[in-house]
Each structure stands twice: as structure tokens, then as C-alpha cells.
């Protein structure tokens, strides 16, 4: 059965598709010092939808990508939480089960394509290895599948790319290879961490188009993690905004990006130069910025994490963390402005 056929009949799942509940992850230094990265993150992904995760440095977004499949570095520790996928908790699954899920049911594309490929193994081999990890077909069959897969992401050059080494490819080409590896075994969920960060604008556009095409063709659910809100516009169905290891706001993309409710989201979107949008700030005027820097999660005071930099802060904000409040159709915010 060809890959296209496998993907055309996705397995039926119960909704929601992926559910993350109260995830706490920290990094422990040699000396035993704890550095929290995720402090109670909860969200869900519905079947077939694209969730954009918007987060800047220090928000915990990359930790999230690694934690979903338990691929944290040696000093990372999942302290608490549940990740429900297709009926089981990934955080408590047996290693064998996890290995079967990785790549075959959920695929993760990490940052920095130039570092994510083995420098001494040919591209074709590295793709073949992904297939070989989940099925025991003969070498001939695997080679066939590899070329077929490469043709999806490299319409003209597939055979040459298969024989190349990673350092012989450009950044955009490397990213395509990573995407190919991710969809090889027909996963239903693909998590992409900053897939466009180090690329030129036209390459970025090509990669996003490629994502759209594959998402359509193989009925993928996607979690796209990025720090650039503009990338999510027109691509994500829903957007989750992360700040300091927690969710600040989550809702339909047009709502979150068009009329953001959380003060952080609002301030973030306002700080972007708008010369190319319909409304333009005056050129060379000062952009409205979020004062200060991202908080140091090791030394957090009680209260809302954004309070110190928030334009709308109130006295209540220093006393405890805000609960999640619904402000619209599946649009939720974690802010005292909208309720306690």
C-alpha cells in the first residue's frame, strides 16, 4: 500500500486529538538547581486542525516540542502533567510504545535544519532509516518509498538529493528533508518548531506552501511553533500564546491575531512594524514596545507572570495567578481583566 493510500484513510480517533494537561517541566543543573521551563501548560489540538503556538524566548515553546515525545535533554525532567494522545498518556507510556509512536503517529521537526541531520550519512539513507524503524520491508521496497517520498518535497531533484550529504544542501532544502522525514511513516500529528526561522523570506514562503500542500494531502494535524505572529496569519486555525511557561491566551487565529485580548498578545502585535499592513505606523517612529525583558523563571514572585511588564496591571495581579476565563467562542484568556 503506497504512502498516499495509507494517509488517505486516517485512523478514526476520539476528539480531542491531543490533550495536554497541566504540564510542568524543569531543567535541573548539576548542582541541583531547578530551572522551570513549563509551569502548568494545558491545551488541546482537534483532529485535522493547525494550532499555532506563539512564544518568544523563555516562553517554554521548544521545551514543549521536546516534552511531547519525551525527548528532553539529560537534565530535563517532566515533573507533572498528562499528555493524552489516542487514548493513552504519552508521559507514562512504555518505551516500546513510545518508540512506535515517534515518527509513526506523532512527528517532531526540531529547530535549525542544518543541525538536525547526521553530517556523514547520505540523505537517502537517513530517510530510509525512518522507514526502517517502523516496518521491515526489503531494501528495494524501502529505496522505492524513499524516492517517492523525496519526490513529494523535491518535485524535480529527488534522485540527486537522495545521494547528497546534508552539508551540500541549502537551508531550505535541508528543511524540506526534515519535513519529508517527518511525514514518512504517515503520522497524524506533526509538530514543527520554528520551521522558518533561519530562512530567507521567499524560502519561508515556499516551506509554508509545502506545509499547506502536505497538510491538505495527508490530512495532517499540525502544531506550528514560532515567535513570529505573521507566520501564523493565514496558516493556523487556532493560536495559543505562551508566556513564561504558561498559556496566556488561546482562540481562533483571526480573533487572537486580529483582536487580541491578553495584554501580552496585544503588546506583542502592536510592537511589530506595520509598513506593509493596511494601517502603517509613521515610518521611523518609535514602536510601542513591551518594556523590560522576559522573566527569569527561577525567581518568580507570586501573581501574574506578565504583571511587571503589563500596561494594564492592577493591584490584584500581584497577589495570585489569574485563572482561565472564556471571552468568546472557544477563546480563553488568563487575565484578571476578564474575571477572577
Amino acid at each position: 500500500m503506497s504512502m498516499a493510500q495509507t494517509m488517505a484513510n486516517p485512523p478514526k480517533t476520539i476528539s480531542p486529538f491531543l490533550q495536554v494537561q497541566d504540564l510542568h517541566v524543569a531543567y535541573i543543573s548539576r548542582a541541583g538547581q531547578k530551572s522551570p521551563a513549563l509551569a502548568g501548560l494545558s491545551f488541546e489540538v482537534r483532529p485535522g486542525e493547525t494550532l499555532g503556538v506563539l512564544g518568544e524566548s523563555g516562553s517554554g515553546k521548544s521545551t514543549l516540542a521536546a516534552a511531547l515525545l519525551r525527548l528532553l535533554p539529560g537534565n530535563g525532567e517532566i515533573e507533572k502533567g498528562v499528555v493524552l494522545f489516542e487514548g493513552q498518556d504519552l508521559l507514562r507510556a512504555e518505551p516500546r510504545t513510545l518508540q512506535r509512536i515517534r515518527g509513526a503517529r506523532i512527528a517532531v521537526i526540531f529547530q535549525e535544519p542544518s543541525l538536525a541531520l547526521h553530517p556523514m550519512i547520505r540523505i537517502g539513507e537517513q530517510i530510509k532509516d525512518v522507514f526502517a524503524a517502523h516496518e521491515s520491508s526489503s531494501r528495494g521496497v524501502l529505496r522505492q518509498k524513499t524516492l517517492q517520498l523525496l519526490a513529494e518535497v523535491f518535485p524535480t531533484d529527488a534522485a540527486r538529493i537522495a545521494e547528497s550529504y546534508p552539508h551540500q544542501l541549502s537551508g531550505g532544502q535541508q528543511q524540506r528533508v526534515l519535513i519529508a522525514q517527518a511525514i514518512a511513516c504517515g503520522p497524524s500529528l506533526v509538530v514543527a518548531d520554528e520551521p522558518t526561522a533561519s530562512l530567507d523570506p521567499s524560502t519561508q514562503m515556499e516551506i509554508l506552501s509545502l506545509f499547506r500542500k502536505l497538510r491538505e494531502k495527508f490530512h495532517l494535524s499540525v502544531i506550528l511553533i514560532t515567535h513570529n505572529p505573521a507566520v501564523l496569519a493565514g496558516f493556523a486555525d487556532r493560536v495559543l500564546v505562551m508566556y513564561a511557561g504558561k498559556a496566556a491566551e488561546v482562540g481562533p487565529a483571526e480573533k487572537v491575531l486580529g483582536s487580541p485580548q491578553h495584554p501580552y498578545t496585544r503588546a506583542l502585535l502592536q510592537s511589530m512594524p506595520s509598513q506593509l499592513e493596511g494601517y502603517a505606523n509613521q515610518r521611523k517612529s518609535k514602536l510601542p514596545v513591551i518594556p523590560g525583558d522576559a522573566p527569569n523563571l527561577e525567581v518568580l514572585a507570586t501573581g501574574c507572570r506578565f504583571e511587571a511588564r503589563c500596561a494594564d496591571r492592577m493591584e490584584l495581579c500581584t497577589r495570585r495567578e489569574p485563572a482561565v476565563v472564556n471571552v468568546g467562542e472557544s477563546h480563553a484568556v488568563s487575565c484578571f481583566k476578564y474575571g477572577e
Binding site: S202, A233, S271, L276
Partner: protein, 276 residues
């Protein structure tokens, strides 16, 4: 290309700059790489010229030539009325402090083990100016000017965040009181909200110190925001050059149009993807 050069008025004039790298291909064949071809433009004092292009367009080569780190194969660079391409190595060294570079990745352009104070004093030390006490005072003043708190002066570079490190890189570039600052993708590696902070800092410094900027980037949105004039480069050539407003609203060259279309934007109801 549509702008007349009043030589007396322009801080920097570049005329027909060419840079060819003689390389060796596989099996020893001679392979020439033409990095810059016939590049001409100029920058008015205290203004910002944005140089927009993708990788391989020659932007960084141009930056190195202007900062006197590379010798162009042919063409002229006239800075403050002096033709610096005609100078020899020693004379060029006198000009270098006037033109400083800020790079894209502060993690790699700053020695992570040095403290902020040491990094900013280093240019002063190398140039042999001022004695120790004065150097430290000047370094502290620079740190304050870029918005870094004094308590952090003795912290090592590796302990700073990305945005703070870039401020540090800027402070260091300002140590020798340059007239022209070349920012080579200086904002590209930063988070969006941090880009805004640094952009504001740059604008502030421009007006308080009378700096001139050459802002190299592939981000048209930021270029449109910070620049007075925009030049677009493709494969070593300048394909479009003009006032920022004009280039954004009425781009003439196909490359410019393509780059503007490829820049992701928020108001995306109208932003339809191009077919790959």
C-alpha cells in the same frame, strides 16, 4: 538610478564596486565567484539606507568591503569625501574606527567569557586611547546609553539574553565614536518584541549621536520602518534604489515585488500564498 549624488552632502558614496573571489572548484578547476557587480549608491549623513536582499545577494560582502575588511576588486568607496579604496593598509586603519559593524548573531560575535565592561572597553584598549580609569568611565557611559543597567556591567556575555547581547554589541560598536554603523542582519536573530526594542534604540541613537546607518536585512517590514531609502540587491547587483515610501508602494523591479510579497504579514485575509 534616480538619485543624484551631491558629493559634498553624502557621507558615503559607492561607485561601481566589484568583488570577485577566485576560487577552486572540484578537481582543481578555476571557479570565479562574482560577489558584487557594478554596485553604486550613496547615503546621506544621519539617515538610514536599508539594503534588502536574500542570501547570496552579496549584502555581507558589501558590508565587509565598506568596513575595510575586504578589498574590492574594482570600484570606489568615498567616505566623508576621502576615497578610502585608494588608501593603503595603514591609512585605512585610521578610517576604520569611523565605520563599525554590528553582526547578526551576538552569541557568536561576542566572546561569551568576557564581561560587558571588558567587551565594550576592548576597542578603546586596542586603539590605545585613554588610560584605564577613563576607559572604564566611557565604557559605563556606553552601557547606559544602550539601556543596559549598571549592575550588569560585570556580568559575562553568556549570561545576557539575546536582546541584551545585541545592545552590548551596539555599545561596543559605538566605543570609537563612528559616523557610520553597518548593521548586518542585526535584528534577524531576535524575537519580534525584542526587535522592536532594539529598533527603537537605534532610532534614538541616530538622533542623539547623529549616526548614519546601513541597515542590511532580508525583512522588508523592518526595512520599511527604519529606513529613509531602500536598495534591493540580487546576485551581486543593485536592482532597485529609491526613497523608502516609493519602493514599498510602487516597486519597479520584479525582485522587489517578489520580496515584498514574500514577507509574512498579519493582516493576512488578503495574503494568499504563491504557488510553489
Amino acid at each position: 538610478m534616480g538619485l543624484n549624488h551631491d558629493n559634498a552632502e553624502r557621507l558615503l558614496i559607492v561607485e561601481n564596486l566589484e568583488k570577485v573571489y577566485a576560487g577552486r572548484g572540484v578537481l582543481g578547476t578555476k571557479k570565479e565567484v562574482i560577489a558584487l557587480q557594478g554596485v553604486s549608491f550613496s547615503i546621506r549623513p544621519e539617515s538610514t539606507l536599508a539594503l534588502v536582499g536574500e542570501s547570496g545577494s552579496g549584502k555581507s560582502t558589501l558590508a565587509f568591503c565598506l568596513a575595510c575588511m575586504e578589498r574590492p576588486t574594482s570600484g570606489r568607496i568615498i567616505f566623508q569625501g576621502n576615497e578610502i579604496t585608494a588608501l593603503d593598509e595603514k591609512q585605512q586603519r585610521a578610517v576604520r574606527p569611523q565605520i563599525q559593524l554590528v553582526f547578526q548573531d551576538p552569541a557568536r560575535s561576542l566572546n561569551p567569557r568576557f564581561s560587558a565592561l571588558e567587551l565594550v572597553s576592548e576597542p578603546l584598549l586596542v586603539q590605545g586611547r585613554l588610560h584605564k580609569r577613563k576607559r572604564e568611565d566611557r565604557a559605563r557611559a556606553l552601557l547606559a546609553q544602550v539601556g543596559l543597567p549598571q549592575e550588569k556591567a560585570l556580568q559575562r556575555a553568556e549570561e545576557f539574553s539575546g536582546g541584551q547581547r545585541q545592545r552590548l554589541a551596539i555599545a561596543r560598536a559605538l566605543a570609537l565614536e563612528p559616523k557610520l554603523l553597518i548593521l548586518d542582519e542585526a535584528l534577524s536573530a531576535l524575537d519580534c518584541s525584542v526587535q522592536a526594542q532594539i529598533a527603537n534604540l537605534l532610532l534614538e541613537l541616530q538622533s542623539s549621536l547623529g549616526l548614519t546607518y546601513l541597515f542590511i536585512t532580508h525583512d522588508f517590514a523592518m526595512a520599511g520602518h527604519l529606513a529613509d531609502e531602500i536598495a534591493v540587491m540580487e546576485r551581486g547587483k543593485v536592482v532597485e534604489l529609491g526613497a523608502a515610501d516609493r519602493v514599498l508602494r510602487e516597486p519597479e523591479h520584479e525582485i522587489t515585488r517578489r520580496l515584498i510579497a514574500a514577507t509574512p504579514r498579519l493582516g493576512s485575509a488578503a495574503h494568499l500564498p504563491q504557488v510553489v
